[in-house]
C-alpha cells in the first residue's frame, strides 16, 4: 500500500487545470484554447462532451452486441462435413472437449466482459447525468475495473484469426471467419472508446464538503 496524501480541494474549483499529458497543475488564462505551459497540450477542465460521446459509443456497442453473439464467428469444413460456430457454441465445444478452464476464460472474456462493461458504463453515465450523490468511491472503483478488463474481449478475435491462418491451406479442412467477427471486433473497440471518453472526475464534481 502507498501513502495516502493530505487532501486539499478539486483543481477545477480553484480554476486550476491539470494537464492530461504531463500532469502539470497550472493556472492558465481562461481564454479558449488554453495550453499547458510545460508541454503545450490543449487544456480543458473536463473531457469535452464526455457523457454524450460515452452514450453514443455505448448505443452503437449495444446494437452490435446482438449480431456479435447470434451470428456465426467461424465456419469449419472438413471431409466429415461442415459446421458453424457462434461464440457461445465455441465455448460449449471447449467445455465438452474437457478444457473447461479455457471454456470459462473464453466465456468470461467474450460474453460476460462486453455485456458487463456496457451495463457498468451505462450506469456510470446515468449516475453522472442524474447527479446521483451516493457511492462515489465504489463508482470510481467500478470505472477503473471497466477500463482495465475491457481489452480482454479481444480474445476470441485472436483465436479465430490464428485458426483461420492455420487451417486455410490444408486440403482436408478449412476454417473461415464468419460475420460475427467484424461485429464483435466493433463491440470491443466501441466499448473501449466509451470507457476512454467517460471522464471519471465527473463522478466527484458535485460532492459537498
Amino acid at each position: 500500500m502507498g501513502a495516502r496524501l493530505v487532501r486539499v480541494s478539486a483543481a477545477a474549483e480553484r480554476g486550476l487545470f491539470s494537464c492530461g499529458t504531463c500532469g502539470l497543475v497550472s493556472r492558465a488564462p481562461a481564454a479558449p484554447g488554453a495550453a499547458c505551459p510545460r508541454c503545450h497540450t490543449r487544456l480543458a477542465f473536463r473531457k469535452p462532451r464526455s457523457i454524450a460521446h460515452c452514450w453514443a459509443y455505448l448505443v452503437a456497442a449495444m446494437a452490435l452486441y446482438v449480431p456479435a453473439n447470434t451470428l456465426p464467428i467461424m465456419y469449419t469444413s472438413s471431409l466429415f462435413g461442415s459446421s458453424e460456430d457462434t461464440i457461445l457454441s465455441g465455448v460449449l465445444y471447449l467445455w465438452d472437449s474437457g478444457s473447461w478452464y479455457l471454456a470459462l476464460i473464453v466465456f468470461a472474456a467474450s460474453i460476460v466482459v462486453p455485456l458487463a462493461k456496457i451495463i457498468a458504463l451505462a450506469a456510470l453515465a446515468a449516475s453522472v447525468q442524474f447527479g446521483w450523490g451516493s457511492r462515489r468511491a465504489e463508482r470510481a472503483r467500478l470505472y477503473r475495473l471497466v477500463e482495465s478488463i475491457g481489452r480482454w474481449s479481444m480474445l476470441d478475435i485472436f483465436v479465430v484469426a490464428l485458426l483461420v491462418a492455420l487451417v486455410q491451406l490444408t486440403a482436408l479442412a478449412a476454417v473461415r471467419a464468419g460475420p460475427a467477427a467484424p461485429a464483435f471486433g466493433a463491440v470491443v473497440v466501441l466499448t473501449m472508446a466509451a470507457a476512454q471518453s467517460f471522464d471519471p472526475r465527473l463522478i466527484w464534481d458535485d460532492e459537498r464538503r
Binding site: 500500500m1 502507498g2 501513502a3 495516502r4 496524501l5 493530505v6 487532501r7 486539499v8 478539486a10 483543481a11 477545477a12 480553484r14 486550476l16 491539470s18 492530461g20 499529458t21 504531463c22 500532469g23 497543475v25 508541454c39 503545450h40 497540450t41 465445444y93 478444457s99 479455457l102 473464453v106 472474456a109 468511491a137 470510481a140 472503483r141 470505472y143 477503473r144 481489452r151 480482454w152 479481444m154 480474445l155 476470441d156 478475435i157 485472436f158 483465436v159 484469426a161 490464428l162 485458426l163 483461420v164 491462418a165 492455420l166 486455410q168 491451406l169 490444408t170 486440403a171 482436408l172 471467419a177 467477427a181 467484424p182 471486433g185 470491443v188 473501449m192 471519471p200 472526475r201 466527484w204
Partner: protein
C-alpha cells in the same frame, strides 16, 4: 520544489506530495494511483530495448505449427491478418494487426524515442506529441490477450490435430512479461521532471 502539487487524474483532487517522496502514493479521495515511484528511467529504457527485440522475434517466427497428414502449415501474426484479409475481413485483419503489433510497436518505439536522448540529457523533438502517442498506444495494445488467444487456439486445435507452439509464442509470452515490467518501472512524472531540465 520540495512540495509538488498534483491533481488526481481520476477525481481532480488537489494534493501535495510530501517530501521526502513516498515510494507510491494513492489519491486520498478516490484511491487512484497518483505516483508509482518507478525504478528509474534507465531501467525502463533497458526493458524497452529488450521488448523491441522480443517483438521482432515474435513476428519473425511462427506462433503455431499444424501438422495434418504430412501437411505442415504455420501461423504468424502477419499470416493471420493476411488470411483474414483474403477472406473479405479487412477490418478484422487490421484490428488484429493494430492491437497485437502496431500499438505495442508504437508504445515501445515511442518510449525509446523519448528515453534515448534523455539519457544523454537531451529532449527529443516533438516530446509531448510522442508522449501522447505513448499514452494512446499503451491503452490499445493487447499483447497479453494475444498470448492467451494463442494458447486457446493451441488447445482448441490440439483436440483434432497435432499442433505445436512456435518460437514466436515463447517470444510473445516473454514480451508480455517484459511489458508488464515496463509498466511497473516507468513513472511518467519522472520523465517530465527530467525533460523540463533537458
Amino acid at each position: 520544489m520540495n512540495r509538488e502539487l498534483l491533481a488526481c487524474p481520476e477525481c481532480d483532487l488537489l494534493q501535495h506530495i510530501p517530501a521526502p517522496r513516498p515510494r507510491k502514493a494513492l489519491c486520498a479521495r478516490c484511491g487512484a494511483v497518483l505516483y508509482r515511484g518507478g525504478s528509474g528511467l534507465e531501467r525502463t529504457l533497458a526493458l524497452t530495448l529488450t521488448a523491441l527485440v522480443l517483438l521482432a522475434l515474435a513476428n519473425a517466427f511462427p506462433i503455431l505449427t499444424l501438422e495434418l497428414q504430412d501437411e505442415r502449415t504455420t501461423a504468424t501474426l502477419a499470416g493471420a491478418a493476411a488470411a483474414l484479409w483474403s477472406q473479405n475481413m479487412p477490418l478484422v485483419a487490421l484490428l488484429v494487426l493494430f492491437m497485437a503489433l502496431a500499438m505495442p510497436l508504437a508504445e515501445l518505439t515511442a518510449l525509446a524515442y523519448l528515453l534515448v536522448p534523455l539519457a544523454r540529457g537531451a529532449r527529443a523533438p516533438g516530446f509531448a506529441a510522442v508522449f501522447r502517442l505513448l499514452q494512446f498506444a499503451s491503452r490499445w495494445g493487447t499483447v497479453e490477450v494475444f498470448v492467451l488467444g494463442s494458447l486457446v487456439a493451441l488447445v482448441k486445435l490440439g483436440h483434432v490435430a497435432s499442433v505445436e507452439p512456435g518460437i514466436a509464442l515463447g517470444s510473445y509470452g516473454a514480451l508480455m512479461l517484459v511489458m508488464a515490467a515496463i509498466e511497473a518501472s516507468f513513472e511518467p512524472r519522472e520523465l517530465w521532471a527530467r525533460a523540463s531540465f533537458a
